[in-house]
Amino acid sequence: MNLRKLLRIARWEVTKNAGGVDKRTIAIMGLAVVAMVAVAAVAVAGGASGLDSGLYRVGIEESSPYYAPAADDPAFLVREPSTLAVARGNQELRFEGTELRNRPVTQKEKAALGEFRSSVDSYNSRQMASEDNQTAAYPVAVSLVYLEQRGVTDTVQTSDRQSSSDGSSGSASGDGSTDGSGSNGSDRTGGSTGATPTGSDGGTASGGLSGLGAGLTGGAASGTPSDIQPPFPFESLVLAFLFIVPMNFVIQAYGSTMLSERLNRRGELLLVSPVSRFDIIAGKTVPYLLGAMGVITAITLGLRLSGLTAGGGPVAILAVMPLALLFLSATFCGAMFARSFKELTFVTVTVTVSLTSYAFVPAIFTDVTPIALISPLTIVVRDLQGQAISLTDFAFSTTPPTLTALVLFGLGAGLYREEDMFTQRALPLKMLDALSGRIKSKWSALKLSALLLPFVFVAELAAVALLFALGEVSIPLVLVAVVVIEEIAKSIHLYAGFASGRYRRSLRAAVAVGALSGLGFFLAEKFVAIIQLVQLDDINTGEAAFITGTPPDGVSPLLVTLLLLAPLALHAVTAMVSSLGARRNRRSYAVAVLLAMGIHFAYNYTVVVTLVQ
């Protein structure tokens, strides 16, 4: 790495494109942004009807008290009540006075009724707001308090790790094992974790999102029942969206520039210049990373300065960085794999969708469970809410995506050479190339298994996040997901090695690389025992996912040793099984991996059933 050359390439990447995207494009983009703001303003000002406008037709006479609420709500088209129209399916509801005269049968009719009920309710609220006697109009004042239920085991702890680890001492193995599944809970200390009296000043029941809640919804501050906001992540959603959207524009431009290096062998001349390919890649990436971070910083500052959020500073910006890196690295890899712009478009869409869901879905649960920490976006949302973020939380959230991004860059860089860059090979073959390019000797099996661990980690965390909401059913599902992810990660590079002829296809070689792959995976898994720090295993699903990584507490040292070695044996055996299949051909590889998954699943299931309960 040569920083000077790297920066030069970065500078030229910017100037080159400044020439490429001409003034006309910039002007149109500017106009488009202005137009977008204008449209948003009009929409907010209520100049536009909702998406559901005219969805339901209701029959109400003008004399009915229900006429006004129905006419006020654009979702309803008010018609003359007609039994014939109801029979024909042209009216969903028919009222006489305030009496519903048809029995809702179809889904649509039921939905219309539910919708109308809430419509009348909000009509009432509007009426009350204009009452002179506000005490009679709002006879109930509420303050909402969140308290921990100490005697309840399914409570998810959000307290700091330190406070619970002093509960029942560490483990004999010194591996940082935790005290079971939080059965004795933890003593809450400090005001921030105690009761949070809110409500009387309105809208603050949403756990710290007060400023934003008021800002975005324009709601007045009063403590009536309607003001209660469940810890629903509406604001989190909006915020998360705000931070993710700019990424998509950045990666589109980034993907284009990377792929156009490959078209017509354009990049060849850079490769033959006295600059290493890492400098080239880094140099071409830095401007886009800076661009993305610049936009993020602007958004954060904008939110902060306009008073929409309570907090937001360096922590939020830093937490977005791994995400930006992840978007860029995935796009880089995609641009190295894609054969045409068409394919690149699909790659970009895939990257956008999958990474958005990775970042987005867990962040929805920001105020609900610590599982949300899987996504760095959670850190962002919390920081914007003005909550303090511990270093361990930050590390837990940002380390896996950062490592994954680095691995992705590494894999893509493996293809950033004359032999692979300009050839038009099918995607799966390129993928195998990217892996086999990293293979130097049989020890590479160990290295690759270890290197792929961040992937495994992120994938498993995402699986946990997606499945945990299902409750008890989710444990076997998570187990299946974990087994599939881990076995593929351990063996895919072995298959690449055999297919490309980097490993000899002998029985001995297959056993050796299989064992090494298992060992590499085991070592990396132990090394990344960071999961322990965050006590994700308080949640059963989390525990199930990382069963091979964390020996439970309260067992004899002998058993602990056994439990430590058992995963090693497991990983080695399953990797060897896959390896033996991989040395023949694709079909036998597929069969062998399935077999390995079966073994792995049986092991995990036994451990979960016998030890966790």
Binding site: A35, P104, A136, L144, T158, G199, F341, K342
Partner: protein
Amino acid sequence: MIARRDLSSLSREKTIVLALVIQLFVAAFSSFLVVGLTSLYDPSSVESDGIAIGVTGDASQALFEAVAETEGVRPVAFDSPSDARRAFDAGRVNAVLTGQYAATPNGDGKILQVTATAPEGSIRTTLVVVQLRTVLKTLERNERFERANSLERVPLTLPPEADASPYFSFTYTVLIPLLLFLPPFISGSVAVDTVTEEIERGTLELLRVAPVSLLDIVDGKSLAMVALAPAQAALWLLLLSLNGISVANPLALLVFVSAMAAIVVVFGVVLGLQMGRRRPAQLLYSVLTLVVFGAAILLPEHPATTTAKLAVDSPTLLTYGHVGGYVALAVALFAITRRYVDRIEPESL
């Protein structure tokens, strides 16, 4: 001819399969979001005896009645707030409501002060709070009726509750429009790609040596892309109906999707020819398409609403008018673009 070549090259590259998979993924993702979120609220997702709410304080009678009136929750009365708190701690009740009557600051009557205690950091917190809100709103309504004399307008009684699917409105106003608009959007994007790729690789020149005009080429490419969109949309409609979601007016919807596809593809082609390079063209395409789509809210009916009304079978004359308008616009744009392309000197690309 060229349309066929483009279509076959698409299918050969398996990208079309990829496109479908991605769309499926997007749809699954958005459905997951909604289903997941709604299940956080859905009272039926918890155990059958519902949420136990402890009531205590001066106003415990009023609270008790309000809880009893609400579905999915059951009241447990406590004599003192500390008893209630102990029960809460032990997990025997999921929430506690403590009510006291208090004088208002300006002294014109009494107000019911309620302190609601909800569990912190539980997966069920959201649901508990939602139910608390329902209870408290019932309480508020009851209290209002008691004070009706002091009110100019008595609140309306609510229509009966309906066991409506919480996803109904989402399905028709978001999911179906999303599924139907994605194919045209991707078609337009691919149209930008095919045009700019030919220009950047210089293969447009080779094509010109063959006895076809630039117009033929553009015609072929755009027709292939336009044809793809309704085909995918039809697939979605089929899948939806297999999933038990009935979609009305499928023909009108497909005509609508075709018109949309024609509009965006023509737009993409023109952008591609104008810019000549993918990056700016693609950037402008996505930004402008989104802006125009957003700006369509200024129309009497947003395209998503048009789709929703057709799909849910509540179309009005206005709805059909919009569909007709889009078709007319698509035809007109297509004609104008053909004239424009015909005048382009291929050498200038």
